[in-house]
Amino acid sequence: MRLTCGKPLVTLWLAVTVLLASAYGPAVAASGDRLVFGSFRSEENAENWAGRLSDLFGRRVEVERVHADDGLWYRVRSAALAPREDTRLRGLAEANDISYWRSRGTLSHADTVTSSEAGAVSGGFAQKAGRSEKPETAGDSPGTPVDMGGLSYGSAGGGFEPGARPTVTRTDLDLGLQTRSYFDRGLEGQSRFQPSLSARVDFYRAWDDESQSLTFSPFMRLDSRDDERTHFDLRELFWSRVADDWELHLGFKQVFWGVTEFYHLSDIINQTDLVEDIDGEDKLGQPMAHLSLIRDWGIVDLFMLTGFRERTFPGRDGRLRPVIPVDVDRPIYESGARDKRIDGAVRWSHHWGPLNFGLYHFSGTGRDPGFELSVKGNGDLALRPVYRVIDQTGFDGQAIFGDWLFKLEAITRSGDGDRYASATGGFERTLVGALGSRADLGLIMEYIYDERGEDAYNTFFEGDLALGARWTLNDVADTQALLGVIWDTDSDEYVLSLEASRQLGASWMLLLEGRVFGGVPSANPEATLDENLRDLSRFAALQQDDYLQLEFTRYF
């Protein structure tokens, strides 16, 4: 694999990774630990000691009742601590000669105290007792004042190690039968009926206290008409290492960013698997190294995207394609590294009150290609996808106020012609128990804006209004339906879409999907090449592709 040196982002990415890793590297303490500062026979003494410690630490120290074989104890301890708080408290305790020990699982299980820790504790307490009012200690013996290790509670024999999570293995399989029925034959006489089969496996195995895991999800479709739609993809194949406040994932993975319903503008990590569906929600597995850091001020995700996935396009015999088929075998790359270029992205996401938001920067080969007209060896016209290197900064956020959900996605991109901005946003309002029934009705309104207007070559949407209604029956079969329309307010093009699903028994699902493309000038087979090219970014290309799709999925 060739590294593209001289691309500053890779260097920057590595620098950021190293910096963040050193500043916020994995802490030693496991989050959820508590610090114990001694145990008392007298509740009053325990409260006094807890009060003094609370003042010292600037946070509440608790007194916990412990029923032991030799009676009731009052144990002074902190609440479960985040790693950095844990470090702060231990620092303060040590600076003030206060002994402590770490406790996990204080409930009915004996704490594990090593002998050296126990010694330090007793020493500390002797000291402490010498300069303050004496806390009562176990058996009034300074040697065993706070050692709860001998207490036996309940069932756990000996030390209690939380997080002894079992090894988990899960394997699932989905098989799908899909039939697409088009209202008309294609512009080049393609078939009206397009059945296909699909299979997806989900394998997951976690081990090592669930801190490591492997996910494997291959996907395959066999299409009866379109060779390009018959395809295999590693949707996911990655190894994960998960610690308390960071995660590392290596391999092929799916990452989705975005909030809006109709147009996924800010989503950029994974390439669209366009032959699956034109809604842009099916994605190809993206090879990556993904480091995620969890902080009080949000989550920072760092991505090194090792290799580029080309968009899938329907073949000559397929439907829902441009008038001139796309030649996926001859893509044009701006980057000399072609599909070996290493791309990068950084994202910060957080939630605050009713707000959830993410802010990111992506640098690399853009996922959405332009096209260049070419003539193949056999004289056929073809469109070669052109992948440019871009820099894109994006935002996605939503806010909830009562039953109103406001959404916004915005990007600005350079490297792809002049720098431009694009945004989509709107609201969703849910009427719970609509019309006195159990059903919920969601009303959605969104607007899509692109600064380039009709010159936007890589999207259908430049100034479009989208309206939708989501109907959730809340019945046992989990029936739902989403009806939507996206309407170009300038050209009067529109696409009408319906998605509905319903479970059939415990392991079957029925999915209904339909789309109607309308308001476009009738196709002209004699159209000039220029006209054809311009129509690529318009629904005109799809005007004969209205369809209804039925899909049965069996879950194993």
Binding site: A82, T106, E161, D202, G353, G402, T430
Partner: protein, 271 residues
């Protein structure tokens, strides 16, 4: 004999184990019904707290009027937070069409809860409006708000009296949800005197008609300290439908952590 002694005595007879018993301040009997109701739920909250974290498997059995059944299997994880409401993670195992779907909820004492839903089909995390809390949870007779962690601060209370409930004596406490989006005008909760275990809840809809009745059975003492029910049964009085919850395999203090197991990141890898 004041209330505290009475309760201690009752607990010796019935509970037997060394679980902590409810205790109320001296003069409890002389307080107003509102104060008494509030104190009962505060004491219940104290008895229920200190669990650190817990995990439990839940099976839901949905029954319609004709008796046909439908099942759902869920894994539930819960984390006690120090200065905020607790956190809840629900992962759906069956029906298989929705397996891997996960719900993360941060309850807050004063502010509305935060809830996110993870949809594995598109690797997408969606924030849910808490307004939807009165809607059915997984098509069951339990609403989202019934499944959520119920912070003491979210209701107004009033003790209505004491009465027999099965072989025990129970407080009957009325509680009124403070959340304007709740689907209930009020609830009447029966808690036994010995350990403040909820035995029965009667729900009244916004129009103040009886809506649902929850009965809770098969309590067992876990970790010598926490009473947890193995069976709950919710009956909808208006539709005749019912939902049974079977709780299995409670595990306490398993070492779950806020960042690793209860962040929006952890939703993405919930299994």
């Amino acid at each position: 004999m004041d209330c505290r002694c009475l309760l201690a005595l009752l607990s010796l007879i019935w509970a037997g184990a060394n679980a902590e018993v409810p205790s109320f301040p001296p003069g409890f009997d002389t307080l107003t019904a509102i104060d008494q109701g509030t104190l009962i739920f505060r004491e219940k909250d104290r008895l229920d707290s200190g669990y650190q974290d817990l995990q439990v498997n839940l099976q839901m059995v949905l029954r319609d009027r004709r008796g046909s059944e439908s099942r759902r299997d869920l894994q539930i994880s819960q984390l006690e937070m120090e200065n905020d409401g607790d956190r809840l993670l629900v992962v759906f195992d069956t029906p298989k069409a929705i397996r891997g779907t996960a719900l993360l909820s941060y309850s807050h004492k004063a502010a509305p809860d935060d809830q996110w839903l993870y949809l594995p089909a598109h690797a997408r995390v969606k924030k849910i409006a808490s307004r939807n809390k009165s809607g059915p949870f997984l098509s069951s007779e339990f609403a989202y708000e019934d499944m959520a962690l119920q912070e003491v601060e979210k209701f107004d209370y009033q003790l209505l009296g004491s009465e027999d409930c099965g072989s025990r004596t129970c407080f009957r406490v009325q509680r009124v949800p403070l959340d304007q989006y709740s689907g209930y005008s009020r609830q009447e909760v029966l808690l036994d005197h010995d350990a403040l275990r909820v035995q029965r809840i009667e729900y009244f809809d916004r129009a103040r008609r009886p809506l649902k009745v929850l009965t809770v059975d098969d309590y067992a003492l876990h970790e010598d300290r926490f009473w947890k029910a193995a069976r709950m049964h919710m009956e909808n009085l208006q539709t005749g439908k019912s939902t049974e919850l079977r709780w299995r395999d409670y595990r306490f203090a398993t070492g779950l952590s806020a960042d690793r197991d209860f962040s929006t990141n952890s939703l993405l890898r919930a299994r």
